[in-house]
Amino acid sequence: MPAPDRPAAGAATAPAPVTPGERGGGAAVVDAHSVRTEDLRAFYGESEQLKGIDVEFAANEVTAIIGPSGCGKSTLVRCVNRMHEEIPGARAEGRVLLDGLDLYGDGVDVVAVRRAIGMVFQRPNPFPTMSVYDNVAAGLRLTGRRRESTDAAVEQALRDAGLWSEVSSRLDVSATELSGGQQQRLCIARSLAVGPRVLLMDEPCSALDPIATLKIEELIGELKASVTIAIVTHNMQQAARVADRTAFMLDGELVEVGLTGQIFTNPTDPRTEEYVTGKFG
């Protein structure tokens, strides 16, 4: 696959691009939120899926995580909002810092972590027993928010997810009646309603058609003004289109992370080059 010769379109609006080739650290933007992992290791039973990852999802940027199947991309993002440990026999070690606060530290409430760091999954998974409205409101109600001002919050979340114009007249139909792409944006709205600082997206477009995919990608470009985004993707063109930075993973290790344009045109590591040019994976 030919690598794009310019950074992703979204990058044009990104706040102050960082020096090319910079890896890890970076100054936090004021009133914005960044995630940094330090020597993050994840296990399923005895097998080590993440072998010490140090990566940063910089504030108000989109970071794409690419790599072949089974390289640990999903595990990495699932460790960030502590969903990894929901799998029986799975555990994680190391540190995940949200604005400098260790999410694996003593006395940290997992529930609070997940409210601060939202997640969108591979397959659209709206709650099938609930209406469109209730699905978004679930983001609020499930987290114990009061009912007042729910209407306004639901509308705002649907607007932010670019779905309001399509569903405003049928908020009470079952969420399963929406198309796949609409369901996925509904799931994004549901996550946004909680007011996360960071949004993790685990191959959010892999079950969608190209047009629905395009809409989600546009949405990602808009959302990064208010939340920091990490997106796992199999699709390298997608990474090139949406991400400010791209991280390449292989066999549970982070091979390279850098500005997207650089990763695709001038990677430092030969393995990255082989992968982005389609020699394997």
Binding site: R114, L142, T143, S191
Partner: protein
């Protein structure tokens, strides 16, 4: 044309052989015959119930209590009102105990116990409980509660609840296992506490399956005689106080069917028909509810 001929030549070796056709026909007929054999006794039961039971049915059959005057004409033996109401109340109390506890056990198994050793222990225990003859539950309650104090409706309910519990647990476990883990995960990822995830997402999604299992247990309990014989006792008068003797359909049938008076024996058939129809109606009702909640 020549191309067609060539294709036929190529496909010829794949034509279904006579032998395979014969075998296929044989297998189809065997399966159909087995189905028929299974249906015959069911149809016969329904046929006999209707033939012998319909004669007993009248308005007063449902609105009067049995009188105990079994030596006189059929007009004075009375109906089965106390048995119908007794069965409803005893089973309702049993359900109030067994359903919440059973669903809670299933929730624990699916959401918390999972594949732990403790969960395996509980599953084994529940399986054993499923196989226990129902008279044992009656005997257990008899020894525990009845000896020294006497029969009472609620003691019958307890015996039935014990019988229902394993059925509810196993069926609810299956229904809860079927809830896609993606739904649970997305609720947890929103920052919902686990209990809220269970209450707002897992249980509503599993509802149709839960209903089916619960119904199966209720139907089983409603038809049981053995656990009631020496726990709830039997009586003739309609009685809503679960602290005293209560009549029930299975026990009434049991008492009536051994009577030498033909009219009383017919009342047993009428009561049996009533019981079957009640369970059928409950089944239909629950299916309706399940379908509606699945669509909604």
């Amino acid at each position: 044309m020549s191309a067609q001929g060539a294709t036929a030549d190529v496909l010829a070796p794949f034509a279904v052989s006579r032998r395979r056709r014969r075998r296929d026909r044989f297998a189809r007929w065997s399966v159909a015959a087995a189905t028929l054999i299974a249906i015959v006794p069911l149809a016969l039961i329904l046929y006999y119930l209707l033939r012998r039971g319909l004669g007993a049915i009248s308005w007063s059959f449902f609105t009067t209590d049995p009188t105990g005057n079994t030596f006189f004409g059929s007009s004075s033996i009375g109906g089965i009102k106390s048995a119908i109401l007794g069965t409803i109340e005893i089973v309702a109390i049993a359900s109030l105990i067994a359903i919440p506890v059973g669903v809670a056990v299933a929730l624990w198994l699916v959401e918390y116990g999972q594949r732990s050793r403790a969960a395996h222990g509980v599953r084994l225990f529940v399986d054993i409980l499923t196989g226990v003859p129902t008279i044992i539950f009656g005997l257990f309650i008899y020894i525990l509660l009845v000896v020294g104090t006497g029969y009472a409706g609620y003691k019958g309910s307890l015996a039935l609840a014990l019988l229902m519990l394993p059925i509810v647990v196993r069926s609810a476990e299956v229904a809860l296992e079927l809830v896609p883990s993606a739904l649970r995960e997305s609720a947890l990822a929103l920052g919902a506490p686990r209990w809220r995830t269970i209450a707002s997402v897992t249980l509503p999604t599993a509802l149709p399956g839960l209903l089916t299992g619960v119904l199966l247990a209720v139907a089983r309990a409603a038809g049981e005689t053995a656990p009631l014989l020496f726990t709830a006792g039997s009586t003739m008068k309609t009685n809503f106080d679960p602290n005293t003797f209560m009549n029930s359909l299975p026990v009434q049938i049991y008492n009536d069917v051994i009577s030498p008076t033909p009219a009383v024996e017919q009342r047993a058939w009428g009561a049996a028909l009533t019981l079957v129809v009640m369970i059928l109606l409950l089944n239909l009702f629950a299916r309706l509810v399940a379908r509606r909640s699945a669509v909604g």
